[in-house]
């Protein structure tokens, strides 16, 4: 993790995710490209297929009608196809739209070039960078769940791009478990650490990172992959809406309430930022006041009936 030290990261970056739901409505749509690479062995091919199939409905829900989800899988998932899909996304982009490219499969690194294994010529990190640089999206996200994916980090890095890889560098060559946990994050309530009924790129990463570490600790093996994240504000890159959030996002009648809620969330964030200037009692009283109002707005918005006390 190169963004922040973990302890501080969790506390601070949670704020970046606060307005994720609203941010999407305010900025634009998200266009997803999911590429399923070669599995090699049957067990891997099946695992990659299952990950893609689990992911697609989630992304479609997030993209909604204004965004899009494109998939390249099987024999058609060539490097050339990736390029043409990105061209098509470029053509469809609206103002403020975001683009996410998700690579699921195996990768390799020869010391200089990262390659994502596809039918025909593999997709290289330089090719992908060139194509992505040509996509005029406000922000981009690239997730590579493959072995050696960390080898692509330096190449893909860009001020308007968040890059997530399963490994620390190109030398971590073993098949990874990161992808399975990253996909799992979208159906796991505990991954939604800010409880806004949405999973951001940061939350999915954190969840998978924790699970990967536990996977190796529990199996008493040295970790052969160390997930990485690079880029600005990954907490505000929305990947999935959970429960009622999906319904709410597409309901224009509740837009006013959502805006009110967003304003109250900002009040909470402002209060927290000025916490040091108050006594603890004052801070908690002020926080309670804003939150009680927010509770009323939430009730008016309606939606999820998550388990309560």
């Amino acid at each position: 993790m190169t963004l922040l030290a973990p302890a501080a990261g969790r506390a601070v970056l949670a704020w970046a995710a606060l307005s994720a739901l609203g941010a999407l409505e305010a900025t634009g749509a998200t266009h997803f490209l999911v590429v399923e690479g070669l599995g090699g062995r049957r067990s891997y091919a099946e695992a990659f297929r299952e990950q893609v199939e689990t992911l697609l409905p989630v992304l479609r829900e997030t993209a909604g009608e204004s965004g899009s989800v494109r998939v390249a899988a099987g024999v058609e998932a060539t490097a050339e196809r990736v390029g043409s899909e990105l061209e098509a996304i470029s053509a469809a982009l609206g103002p403020g739209d975001e683009v996410a490219v998700i690579l699921i499969g195996h990768g390799s690194h020869d010391g200089r070039t990262y390659k994502f294994n596809l039918p025909g010529p593999d997709l290289t990190d330089r090719q992908l960078k060139a194509w992505l640089d040509a996509v005029p999206a406000a922000r981009q996200l690239v997730v590579s769940t493959t072995s050696s994916s960390g080898g692509a980090l330096a190449t893909l890095k860009s001020p308007r791009r968040v890059v997530i890889t399963a490994t620390k560098n190109g030398r971590e060559r073993n098949a990874t478990v990161f992808g399975q946990y990253w996909v799992e994050a979208f159906s796991e309530p505990s991954a939604d650490t800010d409880k806004n009924e949405a999973i951001s790129a940061l939350e999915a990463f954190r969840y998978a990172e924790d699970k990967v570490a536990a996977h190796f600790a529990d199996s008493k093996r040295l970790a052969t992959e160390h997930p990485q994240i690079e880029g600005q504000q990954p907490g505000s890159f929305l990947l999935a809406r959970l429960g009622a959030a999906a319904e709410l996002a597409s309901d224009p009648r509740r837009r006013g309430l959502l805006e009110r809620r967003e304003a109250l969330e900002r009040n909470v964030a402002d209060l927290a930022a000025g916490k040091e200037s108050m006594s603890e009692g004052e801070y908690l009283d002020a926080l309670q006041e804003v939150l009680l109002e927010l509770a009323e707005v939430q009730e008016m918005i309606g939606g999820s009936e998550e388990e309560g006390p």
Binding site: R10, K195, N196, V268, L284
Partner: protein
């Protein structure tokens, strides 16, 4: 002391391997005649004259003599260089390599010393000093082969001194005082005949009589008359006090050692380590620093000083003052990163143990028990042995217990609850007998107490133990200490632990638990094991051994003679599992289980059966097998978590709770265990316990911190503590302002 399962044990004794003694007979390799007058002064404690004499030799041209002179002058580096030169000039001379080897013995590098003795033996396979040197190295590691080598040397040179000294020392370490006296008397007579300084013989005889109850005896006086600066006589006594775990007495001897020989650096180091065992860290540091200044080559000294440097990272937590003494009974020293998580469990367990053991062993603590938990296993190893890399889990020095923290080992590799219980039992057996309890009995009681505390605790019978029973390798009760101190084969230590535990179990079952206390009192009165068995149990030790053999065979049941069948069936079961032939796997695993039902190690029948039943859609049978696995001390956290989940899914919450509670003492770093326990406690109307579990989740710095704060708030609501509930729900909402359940809870507990 508790060992790591399957780990090789070097007993506590390593902490004070025998000190090198200034005995320079030709049995330790021939030396230049020019050194003789210097040695005579040195042996008599005439340090100034000796130094002057050695300086003269060092100024000469013979590199071997120079090496010896520099060595005696304390310049080990120059001595090493001169020995290298001497060997280069005379490579075929085995004596040179033996002498060089002894330099390495003295500078704490036994492996290098052993290498040089090996090289000498390659030059001359019968070279007596090399054989004796090798025996000394092995003896310093408490290896059984040392006795064999020394006895063989003695056959070739019965008039020698060294072999008798070695055998005498090893007999003392094993507590065989009669054999020790015989060997030492021979050594003394032969030394006189050969004109060799009798100091080491005096020193060991002084230790012998100390072990017989008279520390300040005539041999101490004789040694100091011969050489008033011979602090080794006290240091040797301390060594034997330490291996019989009488640390206070050892400290007192070591203080005398450094008083008569202020430049005896190893005694300063031992004193430092020993003071730390008594909890006197600062005074310990002072002596370790003195030792380091004089002898920077000691890894023990350096490691212990480094450990002391880590102590600011630890927090000390004391229990509330209890009883008439108005002092806390327990002090826990925990790494600050895990103190919040471990404190409630470790403190509760410690106080429960103190309560139970005080009653059962009729002993009231005279000062607080200090428990130190080390998340870094090497820190623990240094704390206990002053050398990293040792496979022990816990050690008790009287009122101080040091052990690995649960995070010091991999999940499932270490049950910290049972280890702490084991060590705390030692506090009582040691202190109630003023440390006179023999090692086997103290370990036996600790093992027995583990089994008694919880059926899931303690050790299970291992294939090695069964094999030892079948091959008649168990030791007679009167000699059982030998299995701990100088094992004759690698598994003997672990086997001896189990045997000691089963002996205590037999006594409790056949003679009644009260006899365990009577035996302890007998040891406190200074009785030997044989005398105690005879007096308390009313049987001869030989008769007791017969009864124990019969008891062991009966309690092993089908496992006695069943190992071959077990291995065969287990292999068949594993192959069938790989082929997913569940019916065949179940049949074979059932047979393996019938052959050795106590086995819960890797690939055990219970887990195979549970998997096969689950895959065949028979959840109830799967649960039954894992329940049996747990009952028989199965330890894998993932397997036990699966059992708990299955029990919850089956609506058997009380049993699930029991399983999760067991996991707390096994792998408390698991967030899910604490979370599920919290929920089950809440559902069972036990919000206090739920609060503890949700606090544990928070202490683990969870990914889902919001949920953890919210859960804690829920527990406080159930406890009727609205203010605390409000605080935690606000902490949750501060991070997740739209979290609906928390908002609703806030509405409920608002101020």
């Amino acid at each position: 002391m508790k060992w790591a399962t399957g780990g090789w044990l070097v007993a506590l004794l390593l902490a004070v391997g025998p000190l090198a003694v200034a005995q320079r007979s030709s049995e330790r390799g021939a030396r230049s005649a020019a050194l003789a007058p210097c040695d005579a002064d040195r042996d008599r404690g005439r340090a100034m004259l000796a130094a002057q004499c050695y300086r003269g030799v060092a100024a000469g041209a013979d590199p071997a003599a120079q090496a010896e002179a520099y060595w005696m002058l304390g310049d080990l580096k120059a001595a090493n260089e001169r020995f290298r030169e001497a060997v280069r000039l005379d490579p075929e001379n085995p004596d040179l390599r033996v002498r060089w080897g002894h330099l390495y013995v003295e500078s704490h590098q036994a492996a290098e010393a052993g290498q040089l003795f090996e090289e000498a033996l390659e030059l001359d396979e019968d070279h007596l000093p090399a054989r004796l040197g090798m025996a000394r190295v092995l003896a310093s590691r408490f290896e059984g082969k040392a006795v064999e080598l020394a006895e063989a040397a003695l056959e070739d040179a019965p008039q020698g001194v060294e072999a008798h000294l070695l055998l005498g020392r090893m007999a003392l370490e094993e507590g065989d005082l009669a054999s020790a006296r015989e060997s030492l008397d021979e050594a003394l007579a032969n030394a006189a005949a050969a004109g060799v300084a009798p100091l080491e013989a005096y020193s060991l005889l002084a230790s012998l009589e100390m072990l017989e109850g008279e520390p300040d005896n005539e041999w101490v006086r004789k040694a100091l008359e011969y050489n008033p600066r011979y602090g080794e006589v006290y240091a040797d006594q301390a060594h034997f006090y330490v291996i019989t775990r009488r640390y206070r007495e050892a400290t007192e001897r070591l203080r005398k050692a450094v008083a008569v020989a202020p430049r005896l650096w190893q005694a300063h180091a031992e004193l430092g380590v020993n003071l730390m065992r008594e909890g006197l860290d600062e005074e310990g540091r002072r002596h370790l620093e003195i030792a380091y200044r004089g002898d920077p080559y000691s890894a023990k000294t350096v490691n212990t000083l480094r450990l002391l440097d880590t102590y600011p990272r630890f927090e000390t937590h004391r229990s509330a003052p209890a009883g008439d003494g108005d002092w806390p009974q327990a002090e826990l020293r925990l790494d600050r990163d895990e103190a919040q998580l471990l404190l409630p469990y470790a403190m509760n367990l410690t106080l429960r143990a103190i309560d139970e053991f005080s009653d059962r062993y009729d002993f009231e603590l005279q000062r607080p028990v200090r428990v130190e938990l080390y998340p870094n296993h090497d820190d623990f190893a240094v704390r206990t042995m002053a050398m990293p890399g040792i496979g022990l889990l816990g050690v008790t020095f009287g009122y101080v217990v040091a052990m690995d923290s649960p995070s010091g080992r991999e999940p499932g590799a270490f049950h910290w609850g049972t280890t702490l219980w084991h060590e705390l039992a030692h506090v009582f057996t040691l202190e109630a007998t003023d440390h006179l309890v023999p090692r086997w009995y103290s370990e036996g009681i600790s093992m027995y107490e583990e089994w008694r505390a919880d059926p899931r605790w303690g050790e299970s019978v291992t294939p090695e133990y069964i094999q030892a029973v079948e091959e008649g390798q168990l030791l007679p009760v009167a000699d059982l200490d030998r299995g701990f101190i100088r094992p004759r084969f690698p598994e003997q230590v672990v086997i001896s632990y189990l045997q000691a535990g089963y002996i205590c179990q037999l006594i409790a079952e056949r003679w009644g638990e009260g006899k365990l206390l009577e035996l302890l009192r007998g040891f406190a009165d200074g009785r030997t094991t044989a005398e105690n068995v005879r007096q308390v149990l009313g049987v001869a030790p030989e008769e007791f051994d017969k009864q124990f053999t019969q008891y062991t065979e009966e309690s092993l049941g089908p496992a006695h003679g069943g190992l071959k069948r077990w291995r065969r069936s287990l292999q068949t079961a594993l192959e069938a599992m790989r082929d997913e032939d569940w019916e065949a796997a179940m049949a074979a695993a059932e047979d393996a289980k019938a052959a050795y039902p106590q086995h819960v190690g890797a690939g055990c029948s219970y887990v195979l059966l549970a998997t096969a039943h689950e895959e065949s859609g028979r959840r109830e049978q799967a649960i039954a097998n894992l329940t049996e696995y747990e009952r028989r001390r199965g330890r894998r956290p993932e397997t036990l978590k699966k059992l708990a989940r299955w029990l919850e899914e089956a609506g058997r919450e009380a049993e699930a709770l029991h399983t999760y509670e067991g996991l707390l003492y096994n792998w408390p770093q698991d967030e899910e265990v604490h979370r599920r326990l919290g929920e089950l406690y809440l559902a069972a109307g036990r919000p206090d316990s739920a609060k503890r579990e949700f606090e544990a989740v928070l202490a683990l710095d969870p990914l889902d911190r919001v949920r953890a704060e919210f859960d804690l708030a829920r527990a406080y609501v159930k406890m009727g503590q609205s203010a605390r509930a409000r605080l935690h729900v606000l902490r949750a909402l501060e991070r997740a302002p739209t979290y609906r359940p928390a908002l609703r809870l806030l509405q409920q507990v608002r101020r």
